[in-house]
Every structure is written in structure tokens, then in C-alpha cells.
Amino acid sequence: MTKTSAFDHLSQDDAIGMLRNMIRIRRFEEKLTVLFKRGKLPGFVHLYTGEEAIAVGACSALRTDDRITSTHRGHGHLIAKGARVDRMMAELFGRVDGYCRGKGGSMHIVSFDLSIIGTNGIVGGGIPIGTGSAWADRHLGRDNVTIVFFGDGASNQGVFFESMNIASVWGLPVIFVCENNGYTEWTPTSELTAGNIVDRAAPMGIPGESVDGNDVVAMRFAVERAVERARKGEGPTLIEAKSYRWNGHNEGEEAFAGAYRPEAEQAEWRERDPIVAFGERLVESEWLTREEWAAIDSDEQAQVDAAVEFAENSPFPDAEEALDHLFAPSKESA
């Protein structure tokens, strides 16, 4: 039988790797929910649970040296781009082994080594930054592309329109991936947003594509098409990935947010779990047994548990580090 028929050119290794990454994100964030409730995490966290297919599908279409910018809801993008859960967890604990030595926290984890060039606590803040890395790559004659991840809320920020405009007129290799999870913080996006977000590509003269954000393969292929165009110098693409945020805007919101999402709506989307859906497809295609699936899951769970241990054992940075890293040492200054 043609096992690849359902997945076109996707290889079995790729597919299983994608499933593993989605599970890694899920288990990592489930752990954060528990840690947050126990008061183990300083600050606040925004979880990506339910949207894993977007980050994993999109990043699986990238080379290691392709770039991403991410959002306040960024753990999924980071893991999908290759970040280690132990160093992420250490950052969330504010420890010295975190990616940013504890200076960034949940919303600001970056790893320039992994071409993650920004995450952002400001909604829409990363859109110009990723447009800028695409500009630099194009200017310098490289063929790297940049994915800018942002949410439905950010689609109403001015920089989104400005960045699409300049990316279009300059022909920049940037892919705008809008994760529409249905809610702008605590308000239904439909109440705040005119028309369809994907349609905002048309007046800019760039392709727009609407994708089922719970289908990791559909995401992969949509982004592959956009990457191909971008690498050939054919400019930017807007992809609107429709999905749903299982958790609140941020953990702990029940203290003030009230019941703003219908139970039935939440249940319906949980039924459409992107990880279960993809795992089942792999089992049906005989690319994966249920035993192998369970083994991946328990392996990832163990990695996350180990990450917590790693974080707890990592020291806090020396308090004097608060004064470090502001400026690069200057060749010119006295």
C-alpha cells in the first residue's frame, strides 16, 4: 500500500518527528499549568495548548537557519524551532541556565543560535522585527526566510498592515502566520475584527491562505508553499491558521475573567485535539503503532520532568547580573 498517499511527500521520519514535537509542547505546558498553580513560576504564563499543530507544521517547513519571531504565547514556537525544554524551563524559573540567563522569562525566551530572533510581550511587536530580518537576508543575498508568528489580536495593530505593505513593495522573504485562536485576550475576536484576517493580504498584493490550524500536515504544506515563493524572491505570504486556545489568555485568569467562553465551544475544540488527530492518522497509515506512540509520549513526559529538575537545580543568577548585558562593549567608547 502507498503509505505516503495521505501525506504526499512527507516522510515517515518527518511525520513522527512532528508528532513528537507536538507532544513535547503539550507535556511541557501541562507541566507549567501545575507549576503555576503551585506558585513555582515567577510572573505569568500564556499557554499554547490546542494550537501545537500551527507551530510544528510551520517550523517543520523551515531550515535550521531560517528565522522566526514569536509572541507572548511562544513556548510552542520555541520548541518547534528546536529549543531545549530544560533550558526553557530554567528560564521560566528565572535561573542562570535559562536561554536568557533568567532575564527574559516566559514571554522573552530567545535563542539567536536557533534563529529565534525575538519573542514578544507586546502584541504585534515582533511583526516589524521579522520583516526586518527578512529585509536583511534579502539585502545580503542570502536565501533564508523568516516566519513571523502573531495572533488574531495583533492583526489589528498598525504594524501588521505597515509590515505587509513594506514586505510587499520590497519583495521580502517573510511569511506572516496569524494564529487565530478565536479570542483577543478575553473578547471574541469576531466582535473586534472586521472581515476575515486572511483577506487583508489581497489589498497588499500578496497571497493569502486560510489553513486548518489543527491539521499539522496542512500547516506544513501551506508554509512550504510560502517558503518556496519566499526563497525564489517572490515575496511574502499571509497564512491565517484557525485554531482554538484551550487555556485562558493567561494562567490564573479565573481570578477575574469569568466564564467568557461557552463550555460547548471548548468541548467541541477539545474533541478536535490536533495531536490525537495526527496520531490517529499515523496509526491508520501504519506509520506508527499505538505502542510506539505511547513510548514517544512517556519519553517526552520524562524529558519534561527532567527539565523541571534541571531548572530547580540551576542557581539564580548573581544579583549583580541585573546590571549586565545592557550595552555591547564598544570598540569606540573610551
Partner: protein
């Protein structure tokens, strides 16, 4: 750094000196690019003619999207460009404040020092005569409070060129403010490339009775007043910090140690001005040096009005500086 004495004095305009600095850096490093609204034509003049020599990709016109192109420089610098932005008018920083203050200024720090962001944001700034409230701002006091931005404010053509070179060679975001009214000032500038270190002030006029720290366009005003007072036997030292971040407090304190009196003249609103910061620092670190209460000369706390007599009332005048100096001597 080249010798400051110029063998054959060559006088050029401040705006030309800026352009020479830009031209030298575009020539020195092919990763340097200049972007902004109409940089090809250059309304103010700093980038005029550069597109002919370096082409439209390295001297590139942007849409009127300040927030986006200020932010694009962060991503571009993170992956290898050295962008230089012409914001055109100082108030336009406000359009781009998130990208300047939250992104450009913070990414290196937030990432634990993973990345250097060599970016220069330059602009003409300050009152230029009935330009009214939205084209007369001097944003340096606000930007001094944003940790992560270096701030340069040259007062002479010589400094304008040398500090442009240093700003572009620096591996950090640098805000370079050209007071509008200084653009047409002429002064001696060497032909070759030279740099002036950021964070090193300059004594523009030596004196022994009063230290006047003056910033940007306040420097020529302070010098004019100092020359006038010389006839009355009052000897004024004029100190130009040249950069506000980092600030050369050592030079200021050394001068105050000699004179015992301090006036700070800032071409900006009084509240939380650079003048306020300098006076506070001298009061803390050099209280025993002071023979009289230090004085600030700055704008009234209002937007800059349009009508000439109103504008004159709100801004600083030579007589304000004169009075402040006399106050310290009373």
C-alpha cells in the same frame, strides 16, 4: 582619533559634516544601509546625494511607517546589517515608541546579552522657528530614561562628523539628534575620517567662575552669553557633554570642582530634562564643591507654540542663561 587641530582649516556646514560621516561609513562597511522617508532626496539634507554613490538599495526610501521601519532595524541588525535610519523630525520617534523603547532598547538585555544591535536612529530635532508643537520636540529627556539607547547630541560640525562615525561603528542602538538650527552652522571639519568616543564630553570654552553645561543648540547660546560676560569680568566655562548616554559626569564634576558654580542649559522642557538629571547628579556627588545653588535653564512645561512671541516666551533665551549665571554669583 585624529588630532583636533586642523592644519588647513576647512569650514563646512554641520549638515555636510553629518553627511561626510555617513558617506565614510557607507564606504567603510558594506553592511551599513541608510533608510527613511525620502532619504534619496533628503528634505533636511544629511543624506542628500548619497543615493547617487551607493545606490537605491543602500540608501533606501521607506513608506511613512515609522513604527515598522524603526522595528525592522532590530531584526535586520540582529542578522548582520548595520542600519542607519533618518527619522527626519524628532517628534516622529513618538510614532515608533514601542519599537524603539520596548524592542530596540531591550532585546539585548532581555536576551541575556545574546545579540548586538548596531543601529543608528538620527533625526533633525528641536525648535526651528514656528514649526509648532509637533515639529519642535526634543525627545532626549524621555529617551535618556529608556535604558538601552545611547544618545548623541552634537553641537558643532566637527562633533557632528566624528560622532556620526562613532555612532555607526558602535554595536548598540544609538539615537543621534541634530538640533534643526545647527544644520546651517559652519565650522572647521577635517576631510579625513575621524571618530569621537561616545561618553566623552568637551570643554568648549575654558573659564573659572561658573560652569555652564550646555546641550545641543544651547551650546552656541551659552558661548555667546559667556563671551558677553567676559567683558564684565565673569569667566564662564562651557562644557558640552556631546553624548547624554553615556554621560561624561567626570568632566562635569571636574569643571564644577574648579568653578564651584553650575548652570545647565537644556534645549528641552524643564521637567525631567537632561538639565534636571545633571543638576541632581552634581548635587549628590559634588555637593561640597558648590558655592551656590545650581540652576537649570530649560523650556517652560508646555508644547512649543506656533506664534513667534509665544514660542520665544516658552523657549530659552540668552537672557535666561545670563540671569541664571548671575544667580549663581549673587
Amino acid at each position: 582619533m585624529a588630532a583636533k587641530t586642523v592644519t588647513e582649516e576647512r569650514n563646512i556646514y554641520y549638515i555636510e559634516a553629518m553627511r561626510e560621516g555617513l558617506r565614510a561609513m557607507l564606504g567603510e562597511d558594506e553592511n551599513v544601509v541608510v533608510i527613511g522617508e525620502d532619504v534619496g532626496r533628503s528634505v533636511i539634507g544629511a543624506t542628500r546625494g548619497l543615493v547617487e554613490d551607493f545606490g537605491p538599495m543602500r540608501v533606501r526610501n521607506t513608506p511613512i511607517s515609522e513604527a515598522t521601519f524603526v522595528g525592522m532595524c532590530v531584526g535586520a541588525a540582529a542578522v548582520g546589517l548595520r542600519p542607519v535610519v533618518d527619522l527626519m523630525v524628532g517628534s516622529f520617534f513618538y510614532v515608533a515608541m514601542d519599537q524603539l523603547a520596548d524592542q530596540a532598547a531591550k532585546l539585548r538585555y532581555m536576551s541575556g546579552g545574546q545579540v548586538n544591535l548596531p543601529i543608528v536612529y538620527f533625526t533633525a530635532t528641536g525648535p526651528s522657528g514656528s514649526a509648532a508643537a509637533q515639529h519642535s520636540e526634543n525627545p532626549h529627556p524621555m529617551l535618556m530614561n529608556v535604558a538601552g539607547l545611547k544618545i548623541v547630541m552634537p553641537s558643532t560640525p566637527y562633533d557632528a562628523k566624528g560622532l556620526m562615525v562613532s555612532a555607526i561603528r558602535d554595536d548598540n542602538p544609538v539615537v543621534y539628534l541634530q538640533d534643526f538650527v545647527l544644520g546651517g552652522v559652519r565650522g572647521p571639519v577635517p576631510e579625513g575620517t575621524y571618530s569621537i568616543p561616545l561618553g566623552v564630553g568637551d570643554i568648549k570654552r575654558a573659564g573659572k567662575d561658573v560652569t555652564v553645561v550646555a546641550i545641543g543648540a544651547a551650546v552656541p547660546k551659552a558661548l555667546r552669553v559667556a563671551n558677553k560676560l567676559e567683558a564684565e569680568g565673569i569667566s564662564v566655562e562651557v562644557v558640552d557633554p556631546r553624548t547624554l548616554v553615556p554621560l561624561d559626569m567626570d568632566l562635569i564634576l571636574e569643571s564644577v570642582a574648579r568653578t564651584g558654580r553650575l548652570v545647565v542649559v537644556d534645549n528641552a522642557r524643564l521637567t525631567c530634562s537632561a538639565a534636571s538629571e545633571i543638576v541632581a547628579s552634581v548635587s549628590e556627588k559634588g555637593f561640597d564643591l558648590l558655592k551656590a545653588a545650581p540652576q537649570r535653564v530649560a523650556w517652560e512645561n508646555v508644547p512649543v507654540p506656533f506664534s513667534p512671541p509665544l514660542e520665544e516666551r516658552a523657549l530659552i533665551s540668552d537672557s535666561d542663561i545670563d540671569s541664571a549665571i548671575r544667580m549663581t554669583l549673587a
